[in-house]
Point group: C3
Chain length 285, copies 3
């Protein structure tokens, strides 16, 4: 019996990245669907819930993707509420790669340094990856600050994290060198999750910073978020500071996504969202 992954994408075209990665993760067949909403998803879901009985049902699983995390979360909630009893399939949510990318970055940081009781800052952290990273850093015991150019936006992002995941993180405004320097006071860890091509952390701030020991950057388009980082750095030690560039993290992200898809076919009752994915990725190292 073929392992069939139902790829539900909220965008106008289903992601090629997710499909290729699913095949590499062990799916035999990926059924690609796009423009999926909580309304049109139900009959599609029934197509995996009711076609394979008994042990066979674990050979059908669901992947939720697309660029919009809020839409992906709404789909996940709808799907979970339509399962009943043993009539359920394993499901993974990774809209915009938010979970696997953030999990890969934080797993690398947490391997570098014990995060318990440390201050961690996610610069430009209100996007899908930044918020997941803040959650994982917080779960690791760090005291987390999420920054934005607008304090209000950072505040709303923190509210979201508390409402959906019960995580408490601090909002802060960081819009220039001075405010960035200030928010990093006493921080051990910093992660940049800003817009592609935008430098957020000048070398003059990070290099030789008194407390910063582990730094990571997820911006893959130069100029990078951390000035003068190497995109392929994967634990580069620069005078006692350890740095991870976007491509260094990207390898683990890709492996993480493949691994998680593979897990979906082991039982029929997995729900892989943020924390479940982080747990898997942390053990992968």
């Amino acid at each position: 019996m073929k392992k069939i992954l139902l790829q539900l994408d909220t965008d106008a075209q289903p992601s090629v990245f997710d499909a290729v990665t699913a095949y590499d993760g062990g799916a035999d067949i990926v059924l690609q669907y796009c423009a999926i909403t909580p309304v049109n998803v139900v009959p599609l879901l029934h197509g995996v819930m009711f076609t394979r009985g008994g042990e066979g049902i674990k050979n059908s699983a669901v992947f939720i993707g697309g660029s919009d995390v809020a839409k992906g979360e709404a789909l996940l909630d709808t799907i979970k509420s339509n399962f009943f009893g043993k009539s359920r399939n394993s499901v993974m949510h990774d809209s915009n790669g938010c979970n696997t990318t953030a999990a890969a970055a934080v797993a690398k940081l947490s391997r570098t340094i014990d995060l318990r009781g440390r201050k961690a800052v996610v610069l430009a952290g209100t996007g899908p990856v930044g918020l997941r990273a803040a959650l994982f850093l917080s779960d690791e015991g760090a005291s987390v600050t999420v920054t934005s150019r607008r304090l209000e936006k950072a505040g709303k992002a923190c509210e979201y994290l508390e409402n959906r995941f019960g995580a408490k993180v601090e909002p802060a405004k960081a819009h220039d060198e001075d405010s960035t320097r200030k928010v990093l006071e006493g921080a051990t860890v910093v992660l940049c999750t800003g817009t592609a091509g935008t430098m957020l952390l000048p070398e003059v701030i990070w290099k030789g910073h008194e407390t910063l020991k582990a730094l990571a950057d997820l911006n893959a388009v130069p100029p990078y978020g951390i000035e003068n980082i190497g995109a392929r750095w994967d634990g580069e030690n620069v005078g006692g500071q350890v740095l991870f560039g976007p491509l260094g993290i990207g390898k683990l992200k890709l492996k993480a996504q493949r691994t998680c898809v593979g897990r979906l076919f082991e039982t029929n009752d997995l729900v892989l969202d943020a924390r479940e994915i982080y747990k898997i990725v942390k053990k992968m190292q």
Copy 2:
């Protein structure tokens, strides 16, 4: 050479149910297409007619699905008229699961009792499954009545059966307990194919009914069509009456659909619509 099934769906999204079942039935690859009409189907059809010569052509086949049986039938007619000589592929029509579901139900009833000369009633039988079931019951030699809440609707349904399949069945109105009791007078077999969640046949009528010996219900959402039936009953004997619930029938329906898809790849000239599918399913038991 891979066995490729061209899934032509008349709905806005192609059915996941049909795709998964096709893979389980032996297709190596299912090419999923949606929003298919008699106009846009032609170039797609050419894509299976002209890509594999000689013996190879039987490795490409066509499946017509979607929620609208009339649209599916129009597609089937167009496809058949576009084949010529040896340039043809096997094709199966099962819009809304009409053929495989009705075939599974009637096959179970016909195994229970010899239908020749008996009266069979299809309650709320003007939908796609009910009409196919009426056809199969009629072909088995039963004298068939199809009911609706509106006599006119039942009449039109019977006209359709005569026009498309040359089958003669009787229309009747059944909208409450009295009219239902009346239409069942002298009936040996009853099948409920009404709307999900609508009870059609109260226990006070069916239980211990003088002539009713075999009863089946295809409504899978409680309350079921036959009051106090068990959804998983698969030939349950209740005081001499034999009952089949929706999930009991559903297992055979699923197996029927897989088997029929598998048959498509044995030769290149099968046309599996109502009667051809019933023949296959009857032999499966």
Copy 3:
């Protein structure tokens, strides 16, 4: 690692023909995408560029199809400009089958007769296949004339060939028996690429023509482009003249398309458009 072909189609439905042929050519999985433009293609392309590192990247390739060659060429140009360094995948362009069909026809003609210094005429040659054929004939050393019912249209077609491929061919008007007879004066080779069902070359002109030695016709719907040709003729010798009908050429076209798709997975840096495809097809014979 599965060989994955990203099928990018510019039409509203992705071609079934191209998908089936890709599977027969060696693709394990074809990801079908439709309505592709230079704008929406970029994230899809990233999905094959960034999912498989090192040697693995050659297991992902791109196929551009659809009925509109200009749209296909625009896609090809966009795709090529988005590759960088080793981050690239092999890509094939064959919108409307233009390259494989024309290559098959000209390969057959060039096997029949040395084309160097000969006059070759492409009747009704301003469509996608005719233009590619004119290019290949010209590359083989023939002096090529492309005809149309309107001289202006033929002229524009020739400009296109010079602008995109640097090939010089002559435009001519051929709209009736006299003008057709005139354009064929001194010609050794003629290829008909007109509209399906339109006869372009009456037997009274071609049969026993003083100089015409090799004739080919790509119109597969009777009446054929060359009067009284056999659709399956594959090098039929009629009194010293050699003729190729649409189905005779079609076999090689199909084999050519399969072979080219297979090549895509051998390295990650092939760009198979007109000339590269012709080279492959010529060696196939």
